[in-house]
Amino acid sequence: MSTPTTLRVWESQAMVYRKIWRSHLLLAFGQPLLYLLAMGLGVGALIDDNTASVESLGGISYFEFLAPALLATTAMISAGQASLWEVLDGFLWSNRYRAMAATPLSPTQIATGLGLWHATRTAIGVTGVAVALALFADTRTWGVVAAVPVAVLCGLAFALPLSAWSATRYGGTSFPAIIRFGLLPMFLLGGAFFPIDQLPDWLEPVAQVTPLWHAIELCRGLVIESVDPGNVGVHLGVIAAYVLAGWLACRVTFTRRLMP
């Protein structure tokens, strides 16, 4: 796997991105900012008034609880969406990947190049969130910088498995369901807005096996600068396992689709 050829895939993706970077950045920066204002400050004021909740949040303010999680959720949503129609488009409508496969690029290189691109694009989005976090004194820490790569890894944990899935599709009919029944529930109930021990007993372990929850925990620990070193390995390990599995799946499905 030689890097320069793989970078060509990255380049071609970047060309597409140039057309939509405005709305992507607006969403990546503006959306978390709105949630920070409405939920973090607004609902946060109500929560912090309630003395009973201080303990369940682990002694931090609701704003400090929510804000770091948005790094991970934004990475998930942005990378997840970019792995659906956009990837299918490369196989189906614009046939971008098929055109690439007609060059010396191998399907594995295409998958790897796409993965690199997902990482770049997610990094751009997550940086937007990090800037939003830096606007508020409570979350203006060096830990935010450390949390960015964690969030990018979290993005890849969704982007690669979903890209592998999209590579097997011939239409986008399953995609709204993936967003509606997969990404959205994780976003709303997966540990960003409230501690998952509030979930019903049967749902809590489900949340614990998602890469999102591990990324949220790690980002939160880093931003408020109280990481439990023992857990870092577990969190990173789970996320990395999803990334690796996703990349392997991509290799298989891209090869099957491009070189049947």
Binding site: G42, R180, F194
Partner: protein, 281 residues
């Protein structure tokens, strides 16, 4: 036999509009059979009922977020000197928001697709149907679907123990009005869309509306900025639906409803005119 039919002195066609300052959408008086478009939607959803059912999942998630997450963390909230369970306070606001969201979703993306891609309305206008039928028909379709969702939402609230007053039954017609107003506004917006990516602008409006219409906390939390919240049409819907769930009715709610009626009329007027401009060239 055709010599006396010239329409205007200069030989041009019938002058179609006379007054410049016209708020009431008189084009709509040309509507005769808007329900035919609703019939078409029913035909479609009869086979795609999963699509209809799954549309209810999203509001359900928000209800869970409130009940499982926020209600535990916030505890009780005080409104007008009375203390209420936080979930009772937020659930009706989510009901109003989901009426808005569903209607806007139907009236922007779906309408844009039929307007520019599938050309459904070009086909429809070749029949005795009019532009007003198209505008009203699509909006009625969105309202009908919004009504179904609202009924399901109220029922779910009841199952989850989030109903505070039997008056909540009246929230269904209020939600129909909310859906009508936002469907009309959304459809007007759809006629200005040039590409799918313009949907981002629609989202850029609806998310702030959802978050800043006193949905999750009382308008008093905004302090001196509360007048800003009043500019959100959704806020006026939230006030009424919340009042119904908490069993607190006030005369000022008539004013809130009037705001929604006004939005509906403006949206209708713009839509009917734009559809005619776009399709009857």
């Amino acid at each position: 036999m055709t010599s006396d039919v010239a329409t205007t002195p200069d030989g041009r066609g019938v002058p179609r509009r006379s007054s410049a300052l016209r708020i009431l959408p008189i084009e709509l008086f040309a509507a005769r059979r808007p329900h035919r478009l609703v019939e078409r939607s029913v035909m479609f959803y009869r086979r795609a009922w999963m699509l209809l059912v799954s549309g209810f999942f999203e509001p359900l998630l928000y209800l869970l977020l409130v009940q499982v997450g926020f209600a535990t963390l916030v505890g009780d909230i005080e409104v007008g000197g009375v203390s209420y369970d936080y979930a009772l306070f937020v659930a009706p606001a989510l009901l109003a928001s989901s009426a808005m969201n569903g209607a806007i979703f139907d009236a922007t993306g779906n309408v844009f697709e039929k307007l520019r891609h599938t050309k459904l309305y070009d086909t429809v206008l070749a029949t005795p149907m009019t532009a007003a039928d198209v505008a009203l028909g699509e909006i009625l379709g969105a309202v009908l679907r919004g009504t179904l969702y609202s009924i399901a939402f109220v029922f779910t609230m009841w199952v989850m123990g989030l109903v505070g007053s039997p008056l909540i039954v009246l929230a269904v017609p209020v939600c129909m009005l909310i859906a009508f107003a936002f469907a009309a506004a959304g459809m007007a917006a759809a006629t200005f869309m040039r590409a799918w990516s313009d949907l981002e602008y629609v989202n850029a409006v609806t998310l702030p509306l959802l978050l800043f219409s006193a949905t999750f906390y009382p308008v008093s939390s905004y302090g001196q900025w509360s007048w800003l919240v009043q500019l959100s049409p959704l806020y006026h819907g939230v006030v009424v639906v919340r009042g119904l769930n908490l069993g607190r009715l006030e005369w000022s709610m008539l004013g809130n409803l009037a705001v929604l009626v006004a939005l509906a009329l403006v949206g209708l007027a713009v839509t009917a005119r734009r559809i005619e401009r776009l399709l009857l060239r």
